[in-house]
């Protein structure tokens, strides 16, 4: 059922190129006469300076394409309300493509709706399609940890105290992968650098996130990174305390004009266009779509004014190495912070390696516990 990797890659690259030069795609899309209606569901506010905003930005970019109409609904709970919202988009607005952007929409809501409306394409963020599920479902995600690795390199170059702080929500595998990548990036610059992690315990807890940031600064961290749903509070608090910061999900540069270094951002427009293409062409959607920096699924925020030329150069080199495959973030020998070897010498786990899916450790150099 699945396409060969070579095919998939070439298709992605073509579309990615189209994404960076929208006029190319506009002309191809314009060929189709009937407009494609796309329904987008968000679990939170579109303007959260975080995960939902990264999707909303992609939806806004999608709206600019000719021949595409976008209907959106924000703050859709991950309950039966999600099904009502999807059904409404399909029946009232005539949506032929549904983008369900929150993890909890997948089971059972997307599965049930996809079975009920086999002619509509459903694309879900973060879910994993397995054989037996409706054929009109696509699941996509992006290797944001590659961008977080680049942020780590920048932070590693910029820190003077050799201590970085990271405020994270929960120790889920996806977050752990990014936390480790951030630390690996920073420690590739200087192996004495330590990364201190504080888990707040939930996705959105502004007051506790501010407290965690203050604590990390008090402990001597001079770069603060954030892996919570809406990193605005963390970045703002870091700015108030006069330290540097690295963002996540979407750009928080405008809340920290002085200290913002860079950030790991999703670039959802690329997968959106892939699914818009298959929905329009009446083709089966890509069931399991994952890609990283090289395919423009993720990106880094533009460098802040503090970032030195050396740091910029190192980040650009690392980006080129990652895209070219000459550098693999998770390569052995790698120890966790309890001293166990997690990846033996000579083993490389590339970004698409499913062994990374169940990651449950923090690497050496991180102060924190899963």
């Amino acid at each position: 059922m699945t396409l060969k990797p070579v095919d998939r890659r070439s298709v992605l690259q073509m579309l990615a190129a189209a994404g960076s030069a929208p006029f190319v795609l506009k002309s191809t899309v314009a060929l189709a006469e009937t407009p494609l209606t796309v329904g987008v569901l968000y679990s939170g506010s579109k303007q959260d300076y975080g995960f939902n905003q990264s999707h909303a930005q992609a939806a806004a970019a999608l709206k600019k394409q000719t021949g595409i109409k976008v209907v959106e609904e924000e703050r859709v709970p991950e309950t039966i309300a999600a099904q009502r919202s999807m059904e409404g988009m399909i029946r009232q607005d005539g949506a032929q493509l549904i983008l369900a952007t929150s993890f909890g929409y997948f089971k059972p809501h997307v599965l049930e709706m996809a079975a009920k409306y086999p002619d509509v394409t459903f694309a879900h963020t973060g879910g994993v399609w397995t054989a037996g599920m409706p054929e009109n479902i696509g699941t996509f995600y992006a290797y944001i940890f590659e961008a977080q690795y680049i942020s780590g390199i920048v932070a590693g170059h910029m820190t003077k105290s050799k201590k970085l702080g990271l405020v994270a929500a929960k120790p889920t595998p996806n977050l752990l992968r990014s936390i480790n990548a951030f630390a690996l990036g920073a420690r590739s610059v200087d192996p004495t650098i330590q990364v201190q992690v504080i888990f707040t315990g939930d996705w959105v807890l502004p007051v506790r996130e501010a407290e965690a940031t203050n604590t990390l600064v008090d402990q001597g961290a001079d770069v603060i990174a954030a892996q919570v749903d809406s990193p605005k509070v963390v970045i703002e608090t870091a700015e108030k305390r006069g330290v540097m910061s690295c963002g996540y999900h979407s750009s928080q540069a405008d809340v920290a004009p002085n200290g913002y270094l860079t950030g790991a951002e999703w670039n959802w427009i690329t997968p959106y266009l892939v699914y818009a293409g298959s929905a329009r062409g009446g083709k089966k959607p890509e069931h399991y779509l994952r890609a990283g920096l090289g395919d423009h699924f993720v990106k880094n925020s533009p460098f802040g004014k503090l970032v030195t030329p050396e740091a910029r150069a190192a980040a650009e080199t690392a980006r080129a190495d990652l895209i070219g495959g000459t550098r693999v973030i998770y390569s052995g020998p790698l120890k966790d912070n309890k001293g166990n070897v997690v990846i033996p010498a000579g083993v490389m786990q590339s970004s698409s390696d499913r062994a990374l899916d169940g990651i449950n450790y923090l690497i050496e150099g991180i102060i924190g516990q899963v």
């Binding site: 939170g44 506010s45 303007q47 959260d48 300076y49 105290s161 201590k163 201190q196 992690v197 504080i198 888990f199 707040t200 315990g201 939930d202 959105v204 807890l205 502004p206 007051v207 506790r208 996130e209 501010a210 407290e211 965690a212 203050n214 604590t215 990390l216 600064v217 008090d218 402990q219 001597g220 749903d229 809406s230 605005k232 509070v233 703002e236 608090t237 108030k240 305390r241 405008d254 809340v255 102060i367 924190g368 516990q369």
Partner: protein, 308 residues
């Protein structure tokens, strides 16, 4: 000046700093609720009032350039909501708990709706007083960077204490809250007192909300309140309807809330879910310890429907 050298001393410092930073909205909302409940009504809608206040304060501070004007308008917005609650509950056979819950939904919804254009702009924040000027340790300076509203909150707790226990109006309020029949017999305007008490409660809750958006964490977003308004209502019961206790409970709650992040900060990395629950565990423990079998509602205003 070495920032990393304070080690475990960071823990008491973080708890102190947390108590000062986190507790202010709790102080305002719980004392506001206390005034309302003393009149014999419970206003559960303060969570919505808090959000509305946070939004209104941020909006006015942004538009006028004066954060203090923002605080005032947050209070007025809260007062309007309190008036609504007071008025609706004055209709016969209307349940104040149900009205409160609907006001949570209305308040948050209204705040989200009107607050949409306010997420990106930066409003001038409330200034803070640098009480750590004597110290050369940056951590101490940061912990003692205290917002003026915190001191207003402390003064308020004592002022409310004096008002309730030493003034005629306070006596009237307590009478209305303890026995409607007695209040009527004395010729007190029961409904008017209750409406005014609910408005006062809303005013203070609105100010508590403006602290969230204008001081700490200090910006408007839809995820701003993580249940502070509801928690503050619970703190009133915890404080046995005494304003000084409410102040103490708020401080305790703020300080305990800082425990989770602070312990991870000094390297105690495990059990953070447990430490993050510290405020609630502490509340539970004290409530169990302070219960009385003989007179479980000894301190509660007699007219509170909660206890009927």
């Amino acid at each position: 000046m070495d920032a990393t050298s304070i080690g475990w001393l960071a823990l008491p410092l973080a708890i102190l700093g947390g108590a000062i930073r986190v507790s202010t909205p709790f102080i305002f909302v719980s004392i506001g609720e206390l005034i309302t409940e003393k009149s014999g009504r419970i206003n559960l809608g303060l969570e919505g009032t808090l959000m509305l206040g946070a939004m209104a304060g941020y909006a006015i501070s942004y538009l006028s350039g004066s954060p203090w004007l923002g605080v005032l308008s947050a209070g007025l917005a809260g007062m309007a909501f309190g008036f609504l609650h007071g008025l609706l509950c004055s209709v016969k056979r209307v349940n104040d708990t149900a009205i409160g819950i609907s006001l949570i939904v209305l308040g948050t919804g209204l705040a989200f709706f009107l607050g949409k254009p306010l997420i990106e702009p930066k409003a001038p924040p409330l200034p803070s007083i640098a009480l750590g000027f004597w110290s050369s340790v940056p951590q101490v300076r940061a912990a003692l960077d205290v917002n003026a509203l915190f001191f207003v909150g402390i003064a308020l707790a004592f002022a409310v204490y004096v008002f309730l226990n030493r003034t005629g109006c306070g006596l009237m309020l307590r009478t209305v809250g303890d026995s409607e029949d007695a209040a009527r017999a004395l010729g007190f305007p029961v409904l008017r007192v209750r409406i005014i008490a609910t408005m006062a409660g809303g005013f203070l809750a609105g100010i508590g909300g403006s602290f969230l958006s204008l001081s700490y964490p200090g910006s408007w977003s839809e995820g701003l309140s993580s249940g502070q308004g509801i928690m503050a209502v619970a703190l009133v019961i915890f404080a046995r309807w005494r304003s000084i206790n409410a102040l103490g409970a708020s401080l305790l709650f703020g300080g305990a809330g800082a425990l989770g992040p602070a312990l991870q900060g000094i390297g105690v990395t495990g059990y953070y879910y447990l430490f993050n629950a510290a405020p609630y565990i502490l509340t539970l423990a004290i409530m169990v310890a302070s219960t009385s079998r003989a007179a479980p509602f000894a301190d509660a205003p007699g007219e509170l429907k909660l206890h009927r």
